[in-house]
């Protein structure tokens, strides 16, 4: 395989192994996620999709009993290095969860939460803040719906709107990578479609890595696709190829619904 320049990768993972206590959840993961495109991550339940995602922003460490080996380079820097500031890692890598989890604050303060944390010390007038709120909400196609009720509780929004808000609140700190763990699975079909559309819309400005159980969604909404099975990467390629002409028999089996 001819290797393209390292710069083309947003996430460059080499020989990543991960243990929860004594249980090994990831085995020798080698993965390159290309910059600026949407990559989907599929595989049966328990194969380690979330685990991989959660190691890319190092949120797994919170558990305390997780051990990681290998390297994960994000934008050319190994985030598992000892001298890496974890708060900066999380600033560069935003995460969207399965269940929308807006903070128990107003819509406006949800958007400004990250902004206020990371832009502290730099002067930001009230005027700037209004700009930040408006542009983030516009970016997720929510502005017109909520512009008159920015002070209302974020939890009053519909689930679809909440999920969009959760994406919007990442934008003010300008992350490079967006990790999404089944972002549509709590939504109804209409909400799913709207959020999918939004994700597609964000393509190019962000590198997006999205876990999904929905084959149709992976096929519709991603340019590259990774198939994982029992903690290993089985196949990684252009989405169309993975779905139409899978190289591995396990991939074919999964896509045709022969696993749970």
């Amino acid at each position: 395989m001819n290797s393209p320049a390292r710069d083309d990768y947003a996430v460059h993972t080499v020989m990543l192994n991960l243990w929860y206590g004594t249980f090994q959840a990831l085995f020798d993961i080698n993965l390159d996620v290309k910059k600026g495109i949407i990559t989907s991550l599929i595989g049966p339940s328990g194969c380690g999709k979330s685990t991989y995602l959660r190691s890319v922003n190092r949120i797994n460490e919170r558990l305390g009993y997780v051990r990681t080996e290998g390297t994960i380079e994000v934008l050319g820097k190994n985030i598992l290095d000892a001298n890496v500031e974890i708060l900066q890692v999380r600033k560069q890598i935003g995460m969207v969860f399965q269940r929308p989890n807006p903070l128990p604050l107003s819509i406006r303060d949800n958007i400004l939460f990250g902004h206020n944390i990371h832009m502290r010390g730099q002067k930001s007038s009230k005027f700037d803040r209004e700009d930040v709120v408006e542009s983030a909400l516009r970016r997720v196609l929510l502005w017109d719906k909520v512009k008159d009720r920015l002070q209302r509780k974020a939890t009053e929004l519909s689930l679809e709107e909440q999920q969009k808000l959760c994406i919007a609140r990442l934008l003010p700190v300008k992350p490079a990578v967006l990790l999404m763990d089944e972002p549509c699975s709590a939504l109804d079909p209409k909400g799913t479609e709207a959020v999918e559309e939004l994700i597609w819309e964000l393509r190019g400005d962000f590198t997006i890595l999205i876990v999904t159980h929905n084959m149709a969604q992976a096929r519709r909404a991603s340019e590259e696709c990774i198939f994982m099975l029992m903690g290993k990467v089985i196949e990684h390629g252009a989405t169309e190829e993975v779905f139409l002409t899978p190289r591995q028999s396990e991939t074919a089996d999964y896509i045709e619904g022969r696993y749970g």
Binding site: N57, L87, Q88, N101
Partner: protein
């Protein structure tokens, strides 16, 4: 079809029986409270007046008002709160947000539970030994309030910890994922959402502190003082102790007097409780989830 069978009817009767039973028990629980209040109002209500509340006791505490005791109790409770709330909240935040589950925190938890079970007279002795004698504060409001604070600390810690843990994990994860430190998470999201629960603990504590007699008796409250305390290093009179004194130590006290004092004591607790409950409801209404 759809007609009630005999079995349905039997189930319904049982259901009614149990509902009535539970209701009766609940009513019985309220009864003593009502009876106590009624007795106090009936026997002591007549004595309540502005002079009673704001006057000095006269004639060997057999007549006159109770102002010095009232004033002293407010001081004792306020200083105790000022000490125990910040300490208790800080400890609870550490235990629930920072500390993991290890032998150290388990020992601390055990200590808290045991502290909650220590009788108040033991706290009193501890207060005398530690604050009055060892630290040389002398019998004073400060020593008495510190004793009260220690006694009520477990309540504050437990209530705070429980309300912190009631804040959903997802909120914390969301904050961490945006690169917030633990402290930023606690200050901006966790604490604001736990205030109403913390207040519950404080309410409980206020009620208890106001009524306690033993812990303040040897540490800072006096039977009778001809002047008001001027600083926390002075001794003071207190309502609870005053009540104890005039009912047991002073002969020839008119019957209405102790009932009046008790009424004021309970009234004070009720007043503070309703204030805190109102505050709590207001805070809850502002809660954004």
């Amino acid at each position: 079809m759809f007609a009630a069978t005999e079995l349905n009817q039997r189930d319904k009767n049982t259901q009614t029986l149990f509902r009535m039973g539970f209701m009766l028990v609940t009513a019985l629980l309220i009864l003593p409270v009502l009876l106590i209040l009624a007795t106090l109002v009936y026997k002591g209500g007549s004595i309540i007046s502005a002079e009673f509340l704001f006057g000095d006791p006269t004639n060997g505490m057999r007549e006159g008002g109770i102002f010095p005791a009232l004033y002293g109790t407010v001081w004792l409770v306020a200083v105790a709160l000022l000490v125990s709330v910040p300490l208790g909240v800080a400890a609870a935040v550490y235990l629930s947000e920072y500390a993991g589950d290890n032998w150290f925190t388990r020992v601390i938890n055990l200590a808290i539970i045991n502290l909650a079970g220590v009788p108040s007279i033991v706290h009193a002795l501890f207060g005398v030994g530690a604050f009055v004698l060892f630290f040389g504060i002398g019998t004073s409001i400060l020593a008495a309030s510190l004793t009260l604070a220690i006694m009520t600390l477990p309540v504050v810690i437990v209530a705070t910890r429980e309300s912190l843990q009631a804040v959903p994990r997802e909120f914390r994860e969301a904050c961490w994922n945006m690169g917030a430190t633990r402290w930023q998470t606690i200050r901006r999201v966790v604490l604001p959402n736990a205030v109403s629960g913390i207040l519950t603990g404080v309410i409980l504590e206020v009620s208890r502190t106001t009524g306690e007699t033993a812990p303040i008796m040897f540490t800072g409250a006096a039977f009778f003082l001809p002047f008001l305390p001027e600083s926390v290093f002075d001794q003071t009179m207190a309502l609870s102790l005053h009540l104890y004194v005039i009912t047991t130590q002073v002969p020839g006290v008119p019957e209405a007097l102790p009932f009046g004092v008790a009424l004021v004591l309970i009234g004070m607790v009720l007043l503070m409780n309703s204030f805190s409950i109102a505050l709590r409801m207001w805070l809850r209404g502002r809660k954004k989830w």
